[in-house]
């Protein structure tokens, strides 16, 4: 924890009685939040707790249905991001708001572009970018195009965008989700520097360890409501978790030893490009046996998504081999891979895993819809689909779901449950689970973890890809660390420590290539 900060007691921002409802969901219910000058204030809660929504309201992206906001003592109505910026409030989003084909300088100036007459003054924009970079200690190249720079650099551009507009309050939404531990440390140093210069920082995060290390105060939200605010120095991760969930929870699941069998999936020297055509997977090799969970750990953006997509048939492979039960699958269709026993819980559940506008029943049957027991000679009766869906709903306890209802009426966690239920319902040989518990309540995470282990115990091979180190450590029998498109190190489950894993994730540490 940092040395005692000299936070001013008078609050800079006060949000009170904030209620916000979307169709089907109440995101904030009488929520409150106060922010002092010169403090780093963490805002924590599970997914669906309402923390992002609350801050988006502060930033003017949403309007509250009820409640008031006071900035520097004046009651204000923030109805647009422009208004928020005018009040000195800036936000760095989880998904960067940058224009890939434009340069760093152009992105920073966007919306307040310097002009000479009608024309855009590029030189002035570049000069501005350089000056900001020096003042706040965030290194960037003003003339580089966004699509060519790294994730860490892009985040710096995002921060500079806010600083360029003279904000005094900076909101960061899950900033370390895409950073390596070292980059995260750099970021926190920068944030401390900003606080010393008189600014206030709001850190939206669910990483309790970070909260304990870097914040001055913590506000906890649960189910859209305000739970409490505590001084960081006076609390612990355990207590925060309890406040977030409302009960004491076990963060580790019981797991017996793995009983491994044949090699189910073998990956040799696979290379793949990303959407921009740049290499994302640069020669990955590993294998997973029946009855074990192989966890791929790594900071997001090191090629895991592309690896999973190429393994499951959603992306083409440019080199290497992949075998499933001894059959070459690099060019196989998704249907063929499924027929060979592959199931996939995708990381982008609303993009790949579900069809938002379709019914629960329609979502429940995909992958099984063209053969018995669901379909007979191309007849796929609606009643059969409904019955199948009901079966999944019952077995996985998805409350309040009706087969004809649109799947959008379920919460994110329940949608994920349905996807899990669906993918697991046909005893696959290989279950590929990418970020399976993202957006799922802590309570349900336990359930998911137990199910994955149950699957392993029934003889399936499980490939787990997760950015949550604790999840990988809990579940995996063997761990492969992915960095910069390669598996740089492999560990057996019990010999891995967080430190060593962290180092490997950085590309540092003992980099022995994983044996093929």
């Amino acid at each position: 924890m940092e040395e005692q900060h000299d936070a001013d007691a008078a609050p800079v921002v006060v949000m009170h009685g904030i209620t916000k409802a979307f169709p089907g969901v109440v995101a904030n219910q009488q929520a409150q939040f106060d922010l002092r000058a010169r403090e780093v204030h963490a805002l924590v809660g599970e997914n669906g707790a309402g923390k992002s929504t609350l801050m988006k309201i502060l930033f003017g992206l949403y309007s509250p249905n009820a409640g008031s906001i006071t900035v520097n003592g004046h009651v204000v109505r923030i109805d647009s991001p422009q208004k928020a910026i005018g009040l000195g409030i800036g936000m760095v989003h989880q998904h960067f708001m940058l224009i890939p084909s434009l340069t760093v300088a152009e992105n920073i100036s966007l919306g307040m572009e310097p002009t000479r007459g009608r024309f855009f003054d590029l030189n002035a924009a570049v000069a501005l970018a350089r000056q900001l970079s020096t003042t706040y200690g965030l290194r960037i190249d003003p003339s580089a195009r966004i699509r060519d720079i790294s994730v860490g650099e892009r985040q710096r551009v995002e921060i500079l965008k806010a600083l360029a507009r003279g904000v005094r309050v900076l909101i960061l939404d899950e900033p370390t989700a895409v950073l390596t531990p070292q980059e995260a440390d750099e970021l926190f140093l920068v944030l401390r520097g900003l606080v010393r210069q008189g600014m206030s920082v709001v850190l939206i995060t669910h990483k309790l360890r970070e909260v304990m290390n870097t914040s001055d105060r913590v506000t906890v939200m649960r189910a859209g409501q305000y739970v409490g605010t505590v001084e960081t120095s006076a609390t612990s991760t355990r207590e925060l978790a309890r406040m977030m969930v409302g009960r004491d929870i076990l963060l580790r699941v019981e797991k017996g030893a793995a009983q491994t069998g044949e090699v189910v999936v073998q990956v040799d020297g696979v290379t793949t490009e990303d959407d921009q055509g740049l290499p994302a997977v640069r020669g990955v090799s590993f294998q997973v046996r029946a009855g074990e969970i192989y966890g791929i750990a790594g900071v997001e953006g090191n090629g895991q998504s592309e690896l999973v997509e190429s393994l499951t048939g959603l992306r083409g492979v440019s080199g290497g081999r992949m075998l499933l039960n001894g059959v070459r699958i690099e060019r196989a269709t998704t249907r063929r891979r499924r027929e060979l026993g592959m199931a996939h819980i995708p990381e982008d559940r609303l993009v790949y895993g579900a069809s938002e506008s379709s019914s629960i029943a329609d979502n429940a049957v995909i992958g099984y819809h063209y053969h018995p027991p669901l379909a007979y000679r191309s007849w796929l009766a609606a009643s059969r689909r409904a019955r199948w869906a009901l079966d999944l709903i019952r077995r996985f306890d998805i409350r309040g779901a009706r087969p004809e209802a649109p799947i959008g009426s379920l919460s994110g966690g329940n949608i994920q449950k349905l996807i899990l239920a669906r993918e697991m319902s046909r005893a696959p040989n290989l279950l590929v689970a990418a970020q399976p518990t993202r957006g799922v309540d802590i309570g349900a995470i336990e359930f998911f973890h137990r199910k994955l282990i149950e699957y392993r115990d029934n003889g399936a091979a499980v490939l787990l890809v997760s950015a949550e180190l604790s999840e990988v450590l809990t579940l995996a029998d063997r761990i492969g660390v992915m960095y910069d498109g390669r598996i740089v190190r492999e560990f057996a489950g019990d010999e891995a420590t967080e430190q060593e894993l962290g180092l490997a994730m950085l590309g540092a540490g003992d980099s022995q290539r994983a044996s093929a």
Partner: protein, 328 residues
């Protein structure tokens, strides 16, 4: 076969420019909306409506009432007609923009609706005011610019010996469009809005407003294109005289990568196809086959361009529905 090949000579260059002009004007409008993320299918309808009002306007400003009460307006009739055409097209564009941007109608369906409105509406109007469903004369034309000193110059002569003034307008417009898109603040904002509307919005840019402005721009340019059709050479309005040019303009804009210069070159290509088709008709080939040429050329061009564009990486789903939606 020799006969067919002999169709290609430098005397095609003049007609090529002439026939490319309306396509070019509409395509530039289309590319602005495309850069802002709005697929504009309504170019056809806006052009047609403009063609009607341009001709009707010119007709009106030469009528007896006007000749008596404000005779000084009469020689200006074609220009006033042009103005009417542009206004009509901009109005129609505003309706398109209102429904597709503000009210979140499906872009393709809204565009089709505008086209249907123009197709039916121009006939209803023509029937009501001119008593016919075929065509009516505008009794005036926008002037040509003759550069007789170029008469004997080989290529330039063919190109510029005699062209309608609107061609020169469109050359200037291409230049302005290029500079505006890449060197001004407005152009920067248009490109951001098209590439990442959420990012633009959080930077404080009014996404919908920018999109609406580009739609109005396309309306104005389609107004010029329509006026070119009815007042540029023929001096009359014929039912459905656009004949798909609005869609060819869309293809030209795609072919040209949504850049002004690329689009201009693509429009020239389609102008050439049109010119060849006119030529071939005089050579005795069945007129219907010849009429097909521009449309077949468009399909071929589109296929070639799209092939080059399809990227590796994501597999199979090259069938993303082209609902280039406006934003949140």
């Amino acid at each position: 076969m020799d006969d067919v090949l002999s169709v290609f000579d430098t005397r095609l260059l003049g007609p090529m420019l002439r026939l490319a002009t309306p396509i070019l004007l509409a395509a530039i409008g289309g590319l602005y909306t495309q850069q802002a993320g709005v697929l504009n299918i309504a170019l056809e309808g806006m052009m047609l409506m403009a063609a009607f009002w341009a001709a009707a306007g010119a007709f009106f400003f030469q009528s007896d009432q006007v000749a008596q009460s404000a005779p000084w307006l009469v020689p200006l009739a074609p220009w006033l007609g042009l103005l009417c055409g542009v206004l009509a097209s901009v109005l129609l564009a505003a309706v398109f923009g209102l429904f597709s941007i503000r009210l979140r109608a499906d872009l393709v369906v809204a565009g089709i609706a505008i086209n249907l409105f123009a197709a039916g509406g121009t006939i209803v109007l023509m029937h009501r005011f001119f008593g016919t469903k075929g065509s009516f004369p505008a009794r005036a034309r926008l002037p040509d610019i003759r550069l007789s000193f170029l008469r004997d110059v080989p290529v330039l002569g063919e190109l510029f010996r005699q062209q309608n003034i609107l061609l020169y307008f469109s050359i200037v417009i291409v230049v302005i469009a290029h500079v505006a898109l890449y060197r001004t603040r407005f152009g920067l904002r248009v490109r951001s809005v098209g590439e990442n509307p959420e990012a633009a919005q959080t930077a404080g840019i009014h996404v919908r407003r920018i999109q609406f402005v580009t739609v109005l721009i396309s309306g104005a340019l389609c107004g010029l294109a329509g006026a070119n059709l009815s007042l540029g050479y023929l001096g009359q309005f014929t039912a459905n005289m656009t004949s798909g040019r609005g869609f060819i303009a869309l293809a030209a804009q795609t072919f040209g990568g949504a850049t002004p210069i690329g689009t201009a070159l693509a429009s020239l290509f389609f102008g050439l196809a049109d010119a060849v088709s006119v030529r071939l008709q005089t050579r005795g080939l069945p007129s219907q086959f010849v009429l097909m040429i521009p449309y077949v050329a468009t399909v071929v061009a589109l296929v070639l361009v799209s092939r080059r564009r399809s990227r590796t990486g994501r597999r199979g789903t090259s069938v993303e529905v082209e609902k280039a939606r406006a934003t949140p």
